[in-house]
């Protein structure tokens, strides 16, 4: 009975949404901006991996962001949302950062606070940086190497500043011997032994063992400087002290924020940031349809969360304002994975049977289709990560002749698995992600054709860490197929794949290696990667890791995710960057008019 009621409500909601979509379309016809470039828009995909309208940008004006969600934290130590990292370049600087360029070039590192990309000695275990002259805080005081060290040390205070990435700890102090600056008994609270600051302009990092992605980690927002006397600990995210061209004027959690120019920032000290607008605002809306419509209406310039327009917004924009849209491939891959602790997925042939049986086009449609969902995923390394091959690498012929499912091969694999008549299993899926539920239903239907009966277990999406992230819980509930998605923390195989595929990252809670991959070859390749400094060799190893993962049939990739993102006609110098998984690079967007 409950199911019937729910179903009825869903139908009612869907019907209502359809009618509203139609009406919204009609409304937009009356007030729309017209197609083509009449409204000044750069054109469809004009900012996708290329720069749109850079020459039209002027200094001044207010750049207006809207979002349906606030950041997890604006504290540079605590934030983990991709859009927060992207946005934080307005008010925070790091020793290194990403180039302000489109596509793959944007994922390359460039000096920011430092004069160069560092001197590497001691076989890759020591990195030395010198700070630029003229770098200042928002009160005009110089940014020192001690400030950089203190900002980095804060990452160790996970008891106070939880939530952010912990790559710095794992590379500089893997045994967690340092307890963070708040428990640091040294007089200056700068007791982290792995980092030296011989003078105010020099900072030296000592790694216990080399890691070829250390510079990538230094470019993360977690490595931003924080001034000790301005550190409000857990409340720092309410008003971070700026080292960048903008500073916080106001912030109300869940409502919005306003950034204004930091008049103490020296443009000459910053080769990266152009600081075009005078003011940057963010409004948090709870209604995606409304915020999409307001973007289209011109009330806002850009969506902060970069998750793309919703179904109604897409319908209107594609019809009326296509020139304001970009359709980038994001760094995210949506997938199903098979915990090898749950029978019969301990057998590679049973895993392959599921990969072959799935209808990949149907799954792509469930994700939103080729435009809003993405290209059919054929392997597990995002195309935006070095070593990623996109659809060129398709070991199970997922995007080729097997795109609607290969029943014969699936049955053959079932025979080799010792389950010729199929088996029963459970698909675990987050209940707050309608697209994931739809992909689970698609899988359920196609697996049934080869005798695999899958129940769908919908769980509270906010409890990932304790439900699918707990191997004992997965085994207890016999969750044979787990549906998830993943994007890179930084654009390398380590930043994307190590938590997913390296056996050292199997955790009892908060685990992300859901398949429980314990493959010495893969572990060895990651070890080899971290000690290899040559970029082309690193790329080669990345490709090899991806191949090993796919050969193990631990994953059924769904899509290389794509979204339809909106850019207003008021803005220029817009481009997507691989540094932030295909998001727009916010930091140098400017307005065409200062009014």
């Amino acid at each position: 009975m409950t199911t019937q009621r729910t179903s009825g409500r869903r139908k009612q909601a869907l019907a209502a949404a359809a009618v509203v979509a139609g009406l919204l379309t009609t409304a937009a016809c009356g007030g729309g901006n017209g197609s083509g470039s009449k409204n000044g828009a750069a054109g469809f995909d004009a900012a996708n991996n290329k720069v749109a309208q850079a020459d039209q940008v002027k200094k001044g004006g207010t750049l207006k962001f809207v979002s349906t969600q606030d950041a997890d934290s604006w504290d540079t130590t605590r934030g983990y949302y991709g859009f927060m990292w992207d946005f934080s370049r307005y008010y925070s600087r790091q020793l290194l950062t990403y180039k302000t360029a489109p596509g793959a070039t944007g994922a390359q590192l460039t000096p920011d606070l430092a004069t160069d990309t560092g001197k590497v000695t001691d076989g890759g275990k020591t990195y030395t940086f010198t700070l630029r002259p003229g770098i200042t805080w928002e009160d005009g005081k110089p940014i020192t190497s001690q400030d950089v060290k203190y900002g980095i040390e804060r990452s160790w205070a996970q008891d106070v500043l939880s939530g952010g990435p912990v790559y710095l700890q794992s590379m500089l102090d893997p045994n967690n011997t340092y307890k963070g600056p708040y428990k640091d008994t040294s007089q200056d609270h700068l007791g982290l032994k792995a980092v030296d600051t011989p003078d105010a302009k020099t900072i030296v990092f000592h790694l216990p063992k080399p890691n070829s992605d250390f510079l990538q980690v230094l470019a993360m927002v977690t490595a931003s400087p924080v001034r000790q006397d301005k550190d409000t600990k857990s409340k720092y995210g309410l008003h971070p002290f700026s080292s960048g061209p903008y500073k916080f004027q106001s912030y109300s959690p869940g409502k919005g924020l306003v950034l204004v120019r930091n008049d103490k920032w020296n443009a000459s000290s910053d080769p990266v940031r152009k600081a075009y607008p005078d003011e940057i605002t963010l409004d948090i809306s709870t209604n995606q349809t409304d915020s999409d419509q307001r973007l289209i209406n011109g009330d806002y310039d850009i969506d902060l969360s970069q998750t793309g327009l919703g179904p109604q917004g897409r319908q209107i924009a594609l019809k009326q304002n296509k020139d304001n849209l970009d359709n980038p491939v994001l760094g995210f891959i949506r997938y199903a994975t098979f915990p090898t602790s749950v029978k019969p997925f301990d057998n590679i042939h049973c895993r392959k049977a599921v990969i072959y049986a799935a209808d990949h086009v149907s799954i792509q449609t469930a994700r939103g289709g080729p435009v809003a969902g993405g290209d059919i995923g054929t392997n597990m390394l995002p195309p935006s990560v070095a070593g990623g091959e996109g659809q060129k690498y398709d070991p199970y012929n997922i995007a080729g002749s097997g795109k609607n499912g290969d029943i014969a091969k699936a049955k053959d694999e079932l025979k080799q698995c010792g389950q010729p008549n199929g088996f029963s299993t459970t698909i675990a899926v987050r209940n707050n992600k309608s697209q994931e539920v739809a992909t689970a239903e698609s899988m359920q239907a196609s697996l049934k054709k080869v005798g695999i009966n899958a129940d769908i277990y919908q769980y509270d999406g906010s409890q990932i860490a304790g439900i699918i992230g707990s191997p004992s819980n997965v085994a207890k509930k016999k969750l044979g197929i787990v549906i998830m998605g993943w994007g890179p923390d930084f654009p390398t195989v380590q930043g994307y794949g190590i938590p997913l595929w390296d056996s050292k990252y199997i955790l009892q809670s908060g685990n992300n290696n859901y398949a429980l991959i314990n493959d010495k070859t893969i572990d060895g390749l990651f070890d080899q990667y971290t000690t290899t400094l040559d970029e082309s060799q690193k790329t080669q190893i990345s490709t090899e890791i991806n191949h090993k993962v796919m050969e193990g049939a631990y994953y059924l990739p769904f899509t290389f995710e794509k979204v339809l993102n909106w850019r207003s006609s008021r803005i220029g110098n817009v481009y997507t960057t691989n540094a932030y998984s295909g998001y727009y690079d916010f930091v140098n967007i400017g307005l065409k008019s200062s009014k």
Binding site: A13, V19, A27, Y167, G254, D290, G466, G469
Partner: protein, 332 residues
């Protein structure tokens, strides 16, 4: 009267304590039974076990539920200090908890958002009372007429259509289609006219739903009252029709309307979630929705308490108003 008030206030206090216990149980026992550790949702993608343990300690999740409930009540009267890992956060009395998600005390969040929701609920209530009751009375007086049938069809539509439909429809027509208004919420302290402009659609949308219900109830009650002996007596005595309707019939008709109003207003003040979400109004409903998504228990608990309190207070006021409207009612 005073004894009655004291009794009702005491009952309300007991009810609030029970509600706190229930909410705590839901948020701490249910995940426990499901084998889920709330602390893990506060750490990042690469959950460090030490970080999880530290978060558990910081949020007091290791304490027994009775201890957590006790700390909560104590905090309301004397304030509370949260200390962990060298970070000390003081939450001044009345401390209704502290949100470690958004790093703010719950009380300021409630006091910041309460007036927004109150404005929404009161404005809509005025509209639905005026139009709903008037439509209901007219329908009852002109039973079977075109007016009656038309009004009841509109009322039925109002009851049937969900707010997220009428809200989006209204926005698409008046904001994005005809551009008659901006439709964006503006704080009353920033601009009174801006606030008024932003609230018109939410008021009308919300009032459309409730006015429909009130019209139907008013019509039914009024028709019943008009058949009462004392109405016939009043008319027989030669009283003017407007006196019979306005003074005698309306008093009895208003009793069930007031009961409904008390419940509806109380519930709306607790958070008109759908309306606030549809129109992006930063009130209690929006706050609680975000809190539910983020598993932010302190905010959920605070809003739940405010909702309960609002319903209890509204009902108490309504009970007192009974005696004013209908002299036959005596408070005892």
């Amino acid at each position: 009267m005073l004894a009655y008030l004291i009794r009702r206030l005491f009952a309300a206090a007991v009810m609030l304590v029970v509600i706190v216990l229930v909410v705590f149980s839901i948020f701490f026992l249910v995940p426990k039974w499901a084998g889920v550790d709330i602390a893990t949702s506060f750490v990042g993608k690469q959950a460090d076990p030490h970080a999880v343990e530290a978060v558990r300690e910081k949020l007091g999740l290791s304490d027994p539920i009775y201890a957590q409930v006790w700390h909560f009540f104590k905090g309301i009267f004397v304030g509370r200090t949260y200390a962990a890992g060298g970070d000390v956060t003081h939450c001044a009395a009345p401390c209704f908890g502290y949100s470690f998600r958004s790093e703010q005390a719950v009380w300021p969040v409630l006091t910041d958002r309460f007036p927004v929701t109150l404005g929404l609920a009161l404005g809509a209530a005025v509209l639905w009372l005026v139009f709903g009751v008037a439509a209901g009375v007219l329908s009852a007086l002109k039973r079977g007429s075109l007016w009656d049938r038309g009004a009841m069809v509109v009322a039925l539509s109002g009851v049937s259509l969900p707010i997220y439909f009428t809200g989006l429809l209204a926005s698409s027509i008046f904001v994005f289609g005809l551009h008659w208004m901006d439709g964006k919420y503006v704080s009353i302290s920033d601009s009174f006219t801006g606030w008024l402009g932003g609230m018109i659609l939410p008021w009308v949308t919300l009032a459309f739903l409730y006015a429909a219900m009130y019209a139907r109830i008013t019509r039914a009650t009024m028709m019943e009252v008009l058949g009462e002996d004392y109405i016939r007596t009043a008319r027989a005595k030669g009283l003017a029709e407007q006196v019979v309707i306005g003074k005698h019939a309306m008093r009895s008709t208003m009793t069930p309307i007031l009961t409904m109003l008390g419940m509806d207003l109380g519930a709306l003040i607790g958070g008109a979630i759908l309306t606030e979400t549809t129109f992006s109004i930063p009130g209690l409903g929006q706050a609680v929705l975000t809190a539910i998504k983020n598993q932010d228990l302190p905010i959920i608990l605070g809003v739940t308490l405010i909702t309960s309190l609002a319903v209890l207070v509204a009902n108490l006021v309504v009970d007192i108003l009974y005696a004013v409207i209908d002299p036959r009612v005596r408070l005892s």
